[in-house]
Symmetry: C2
Subunit: 358 residues, 2 copies
């Protein structure tokens, strides 16, 4: 057992960098003290911890030459002001998701997620291999920002409800917290979308101010105790099938970096991208088990009829986005043609494999 | 259009590192000239190019302090001798897949793929978050190697056949190129598994030496022209649902690195892991379209009856692996309990989403 213990600790050493001092690189003084402002509370599960993972990775890979300090929402600037703050050089880095900035440009939502859009792997393939990243860079260039994909939630859940959804008519008049394009889709289906910050969801649901809410998935939803405020937990999250998280950097600051530190920044964002998805998958596994076994939550699929109707509405909503400008059309065409091709391949690979009865 | 052109080139600059010399970091002399030996022909699509991407990333992130030169199979050592070569310090890095070394220890196959095992995202979640990586490190520690996950093929295809597979009886006597555990499963189903190097598949299939072969997926299979040698292309690849590619490093050489270069090595492997999956997905999309539209390939699902039987046999074959040692049992238990939990979550998230009729 000794050898195994040794290698267990070897593994920890490799991952945590807790090395004997003789082996350490010379402790270089930080050449760049950078700030990362975020839209999440500091170390918020999955998302805030993902921002911290990215900052830590940049620190480690650069041997301390870039020291990134993470600020939770409101610590340096409010959550929804980080885009402007980094654009103006108040901070060097920002961590959020592109759909938060739709006020700047509706098209940004394609770089985050759209209803019935691409899954995590599809999004990453589009961004890195299908021209998506270049379009995103163009989109942010007006704001003196360079974007990077820095995480993904995977397919989210459909939400928590205090009434059963058996048919389309159950959506009529439904007051649900569901922001963005998903909310627009619900509205066209007869519902009443509202937006509330995460911290208010439990009380709003418990007191009947809202009939339903979506949030993220079991890991995050369990932390908020939403199972104590709603009867039914519906799936899948048709409105957020694989939300991309972002890190953007002030371009002037980026251009001040030497080439190797630029590569480290871009590289660390890819590490963070993969890491967050893995974190979400493994934590959702555990949380789902707790919701099912301990809290006996009533977990249900949306009826096909409802999903089909929401899909038809979503197609129109997403397509309307493309009519606002030539650039919006270019992004929409790139996104939707990639989605179609990748879905074609997924049908005979991943989907077919997951559908084997067992 | 000027601005957009500028940012198109900005993007290329960022990715390729072709910067004005004034901005370049001091061109540091390589402190470590390392060799990477591989099981693939140099720049073999997806796999060899994945090894090259990893080497390039290490070079770039380290600002040239580590210079990694990639050797194709046979250039420095034969494909299946790279494990020993890196173990003995003939080269510092090796790039392959763990199931190639089952002669050392059958258990290694869990770190690559097993029939009806985990998908790419599930594997990565197990490795990085579920204890898999630590077990893999233990497994390779006897050989003076530290493993890293460095790529994934995604769900492969079932293979090319010259006869229809309508029922189990069609597998009896079927001579199919299918190595490893998949081959063992076919054998127990009444078939005759054979192993042949990739380069011989086309001729063997064309001349009737074999009745069927699996290889990888549309991207790789199209390159070999297998559609000109077989009538039917079956899916899904039950025997390789998400094969992990690896990079391993000689441990003495690893321990000679300063802390930041160790982090760069581990970080670059994560970048390569994500990049290969994205490359496979986007290239398979394109190749599938060519096979369908241009070559009119007859693409078919395995019948449920056949998949169900292969699944039952596979469960036994994989479980038998676990009886060879305490360590094998530990790996099997970790792998299969993670797979069960993640499948539970996938059923209501990714699978449910992909199954929406549209």
């Amino acid at each position: 057992m000794k050898r195994r213990d040794f290698f267990k600790s070897f593994s920890s050493i490799a991952l945590l960098g807790a090395l004997p001092s003789a082996l350490k690189a010379k402790n270089q003084k930080a050449e760049y003290n950078w700030k990362m402002v975020t839209t999440w509370p500091k170390n918020f599960p999955g998302l805030g911890t993902g921002a911290q993972y990215l900052a830590d990775s940049i620190n480690k890979l650069s041997g301390g030459r870039i020291k990134v300090t993470v600020y939770g929402a409101g610590e340096l600037v409010p959550a929804f002001e980080i885009f402007d703050a980094v654009s103006n050089g108040v901070a060097e880095l920002g961590h959020g998701s592109a759909y938060y900035w739709k006020g700047k440009n509706d098209t940004f939502q394609f770089f985050s997620t759209v209803p019935f859009g691409m899954t995590a792997n599809e999004m990453n393939s589009w961004l890195y291999k299908g021209g998506g990243m270049e379009l995103w860079e163009q989109a942010y260039s007006d704001f003196n920002l360079l974007p990077m994909a820095a995480g993904n939630t995977g397919v989210q859940m459909g939400g928590w409800f205090n009434k059963e959804i058996n048919s389309l008519s159950d959506l009529k008049g439904l007051k649900m917290r569901i922001p963005g394009l998903g909310g627009e889709v619900l509205k066209r289906a007869g519902g009443t979308p509202v937006n509330l910050p995460g911290g208010e969801l439990f009380t709003a649901l418990k007191t009947g101010t809202i009939d339903a809410t979506e949030w993220v998935s079991p890991y995050n939803d369990l932390a908020f105790g939403l199972h104590k405020a709603a009867k039914f937990y519906y799936y899948p999250g048709w409105h957020e099938p694989g939300t991309t998280l972002e890190c953007f950097v002030n371009k002037d600051k980026y251009l001040e970096l030497p080439e190797d530190l630029r590569s480290i920044l871009l590289g660390a964002s890819k590490m963070a991208n993969l890491d967050m998805l893995c974190e979400m998958i493994s934590r959702n596994n555990e949380a789902l088990q707790i919701l099912q076994d301990k809290h006996k939550v009533d977990i249900r699929p949306y009826p096909d009829e409802v999903l089909n109707e929401l899909y038809e509405i979503s197609k129109n909503v997403v397509k309307e986005l493309s009519s606002s400008s030539d650039f919006a059309k270019e992004v929409y065409n790139s996104y939707s043609s990639f989605q179609e091709k990748t879905r074609n391949w997924n049908n005979i690979s991943l989907k077919s494999y997951l559908n084997i009865k067992k």
